[in-house]
């Protein structure tokens, strides 16, 4: 094993040890583990018939009972099972959109911090533009143009949420750019790509990781909002889409709280869990920033 | 008359790794009208010691012993009484004036604040008092309207001095008042400070006392009446300023004196004596005399027990086995 791999493994162990001591961070991890297990097991545990409107056997808007612990929706399906299935979709969209956002944010951030001159100005300009433009109206026009589907939802959220990351990474890159090993690497004639991938990226990586976790939280909230507005796939019952259907089917005026309450609690728990984990990671990676 | 008296004062900080001693059993006094210099490297406990006078230490600090200001123990005072004593009886000139001044308040208001708080003076008189103070420290009265960032480092330090003098306290504590300034300005500010303390503080109770904290023994030697040298939270030598500077007894003081030679002293040029190593971490002090790992004249006994601070010559104290014998 070479020296740098060894050093990285040591840093990982140290990180894991500090994280285990962080109580709120560990609470987040436990909550996430439960939801991820639900998402993975959903297709095994839930019969397809449970989601099929034509095969639903419950009554309309039935309150919680023994056979339907969280009651039924407007077509008589079990809300508990819809919720479990929704976990899968909400988490998938959340994680996929975060990956797009992170790749874009890291690429823009490193490039804007590494290059000088007009190119850098243009990159910073684009980042600032995305930071200023209000998220939801932008996402709405993009989603309307692309049409409602899960893939489009992922793309829309991905390209509207990377700018904050880019700014953070750019600041970090600028501070790394002044360090001696990069100066030496430049003096030895290393190319831009080599400098960025070998020196800058590994150094900003811990921060990217902490930021990713915080971004997932925001992205899941965005997914819920956009799906609630009907911009997701109507066939894929994510938590937001569930709330959309509850709203349009009149669950609110019927006082069917069992239809509205659970999806929201799931969103709050998952977003809170990602936030707690992200903040804990930030405290370890960058104690100065997180107070 | 003894203005301030530290009696067997100890300060421990609670940290993740347990208790860290910062000050260990210091006994020291300042007479009215006297300037006491406290010397030592950073981390030796001099700032912590000075902060106990106004009880400004964070909650993590545990203080034992006595700090008598005019024969009253500061450490057992009630909060209301303590607030009344702060600034009116003892004031501080802080180290970095940029961070010690409120960035969004005009300096005139900041100087007036303690006057309003401690003295019942009419609003009009406060303004003329602020102008007077600014003039005394060599700044135009119009500067009262400026914000801290609009002043130079030296000017900000002058503002700090004006602020410290605002309530005519009996004691001024100047904690490295010139460290952040460049050399020329350092001398000016220091002259101003010592001059004002000497001239202003002549009342019925005797002159204004001052504690001047610095790592520069040369500065202390020329401006102070007496000097106490601290190492690892203890006073290891004390005595009249010039004697200590010209004829240090303790090996640590000798090294400090050599690090800041008097300008034009040929001896220093031929025998440069830097001190090897770093001061010990307060949480992990060596056994015996805390200085022995860096000491050029250490003997085996130094590892086993710590020497006490004893009189080694008339009005000279030192804590070293080699000096005693």
């Amino acid at each position: 094993m070479n020296v740098s791999a060894q050093r990285r493994r040591l840093a990982m162990t140290r990180f894991a040890n500090s994280f285990r001591k962080d109580r709120s961070g560990m609470t987040g991890v436990v909550i996430l583990a439960i939801f991820i297990a639900t998402a993975i097991l959903a297709p095994i545990l839930i019969p397809d018939a449970a989601l099929d409107v034509t095969k639903a056997d419950g009554g309309r808007f039935e309150g919680p009972s023994f056979s339907y612990p969280l009651g039924t929706d407007e077509s008589g399906r079990s809300i508990l099972l819809l919720l479990a299935w929704g976990t899968r979709i909400s988490l998938t969209v959340g994680i996929a959109a975060t990956i797009i956002s992170m790749v874009l944010g890291t690429a823009f951030g490193i490039a804007a911090g590494h290059f000088r001159g007009a190119g850098s100005h243009a990159l910073v300009g684009v980042t600032d533009w995305f930071l200023v433009i209000p998220f939801l109206p932008l996402a709405i026009v993009l989603a309307t143009v692309l049409g409602p589907s899960t893939t489009n939802l992922i793309i829309v959220i991905g390209i509207t949420s990377w700018a904050g990351t880019a700014r953070l990474i750019r600041a970090q890159t600028l501070s790394i750019e002044g360090r001696p090993y990069l100066e030496r690497s430049k003096a030895l004639g290393a190319g831009n790509w080599y400098q960025m991938s070998r020196h800058v990226l590994p150094n900003v990586f811990p921060l990217v990781l902490a930021n990713t976790t915080l971004t997932v939280a925001i992205v899941i909230l965005s997914e819920t909002t956009l799906s609630f507005l009907g911009l997701g796939d109507p066939q894929a019952p994510s938590w937001g889409a569930l709330l959309d259907r509850a709203f349009s089917s009149g669950a609110v005026s019927r006082g069917a709280w069992w239809y509205v309450l659970p999806p929201g609690i799931c969103v709050v728990l998952v977003v809170l869990a990602f936030t707690l984990v992200g903040r804990a990671m930030e405290r370890i990676v960058d104690p100065r920033r997180a107070s | 008359m003894t203005l301030l008296q530290f009696r067997d004062l100890s300060v421990d900080y609670t940290s993740n790794d347990g208790m860290v001693p910062a000050v260990r059993g210091v006994t020291l006094g300042v007479e009215a009208g006297e300037t006491l210099g406290i010397a030592g490297e950073s981390g030796c406990g001099k700032t912590t010691l000075a902060s106990t006078v106004l009880r400004l230490l964070p909650d993590t600090a545990q203080v034992r012993g006595e700090v008598l200001l005019d024969d009253v123990d500061i450490l057992t005072m009630k909060w209301g009484r303590l607030r009344a004593v702060r600034w009116s009886q003892a004031a501080i000139v802080f180290q970095g004036a940029l961070h010690a001044l409120n960035p969004v308040q005009r300096i005139g208001d900041q100087i007036a604040e303690p006057i309003r708080l401690h003295q019942s003076v009419a609003e009009k008189q406060i303004n003329s008092r602020v102008d007077e103070l600014l003039t005394q420290v060599g700044l135009p009265a119009s500067r009262a309207k400026s914000y801290p960032h609009q002043l130079s480092g030296g000017q900000r330090q002058r503002v700090m001095i004006a602020m410290a003098l605002a309530c005519k306290p009996a004691l001024i504590i100047a904690d490295e008042p010139t460290t952040a300034l460049d050399v020329m300005v350092q001398a000016q500010v220091l002259d101003l400070l010592t001059g004002l303390v000497r001239d202003l503080g002549t009342g019925p109770a005797g002159g204004m006392g001052m504690i001047l904290i610095s790592h520069d023994l040369g500065v202390l030697g020329t401006t102070c009446d007496r000097i106490a040298v601290m190492y690892a939270g203890q006073v290891i030598e004390s005595g009249p300023a010039l004697e200590i500077f010209d004829n240090p007894k303790h090996p640590y003081t000798r090294a400090l004196a050599a690090a800041f030679p008097r300008i034009g002293d040929p001896a220093a040029r031929y025998a440069p004596t830097g001190l090897p190593g770093d001061p010990p971490f307060p949480g992990d002090l060596p056994t015996g005399c805390a200085f022995h790992p860096r000491c050029p004249i250490a003997v085996p006994a130094c590892k086993l027990s710590a020497p006490a601070l004893v009189e080694v010559a008339p009005s000279r104290m030192a804590a070293c086995f080699e000096v005693e014998s």
Partner: protein
Amino acid sequence: MGSKVLRAFITLAFVVMFNFFLFRMLPGDPIGLYARGRNQDPEQLVELRRALNKPLLEQFITYLRNPFDSTIDSTRFSRPVWEMIGERVWPTLLLLGTAILLASLIGIWIGIRAGWKPGGRFDRMSTGTTLILYSMPEFWLGMMLLIVFSVGAFGIPGMFPVGGISSPGVDTSGPMGWLNVLWHLVLPCTTLVLIYLADYALVMRASLIDERKQEYLTLARAKGLRDTMVRKRHAVPNALLPTVTLIFLSLGFVVTGAITVETVFSWPGLGLLTYEALRGPDIPLLQAIFLMFSIAVIVANLIAELLYVVFDPRVRS
């Protein structure tokens, strides 16, 4: 200062261009997009086709001459889009203005109490609560408040209206009408206040914790000031500066709440109009709304930057 205004104009210019090209650069028949999923009045379709069949450059120049004079009417309401927006601005201003004002007052108060003694009982409780509120979709909170306080559930009788800005038939110009509007305002406003204050409280707390480490606070204590005075006179004025700026900068996030909460409470403002437009979808209306929201946010950002210059003496000189 001039450079800040210039930058705001450049951002605005990009919004205007983006708004134009996004809907026209896509492959396929733009008419299809404009009329997607709707039965169009043939006369309106002809009009639409005439407008969209002109060369792109000519369309762009027409658009640039006056981006606010949409030649294409709303496809859903068959009315000029800017006229509709003009009608809907006031309810939104009323709702958002009240909500932001209350949320910033309460949020800053919570942030000060929590941030002055971090780790204390109040801090642990308030930070827990604000983090939960921060994780909450605002429209869901609105729906739950509706179920509990308007429809009535869990033994609580319904006390508030299910939606709208006033009861049908009530004249809103007199004092009784205002009370009626106020009664309708309670639930949507509470929803937004709870969501916004979480953000403001977290920002104020972090800002105050930063200030707590500053040496000028030690000096203030050394002068003999009481703890409350140290906080009020020295710590809070310094911590308030970044917080107030952030409140202005968060307007983009405020807009999100307006859209979904107005939808849930059928509050007849720009947010509900957005929902109506996107359910169509009514592209001309959506374009105009996007432009409108973007301008509002860009202007708020500019105000935030200028405010900073006014209030922070360090930046002023």
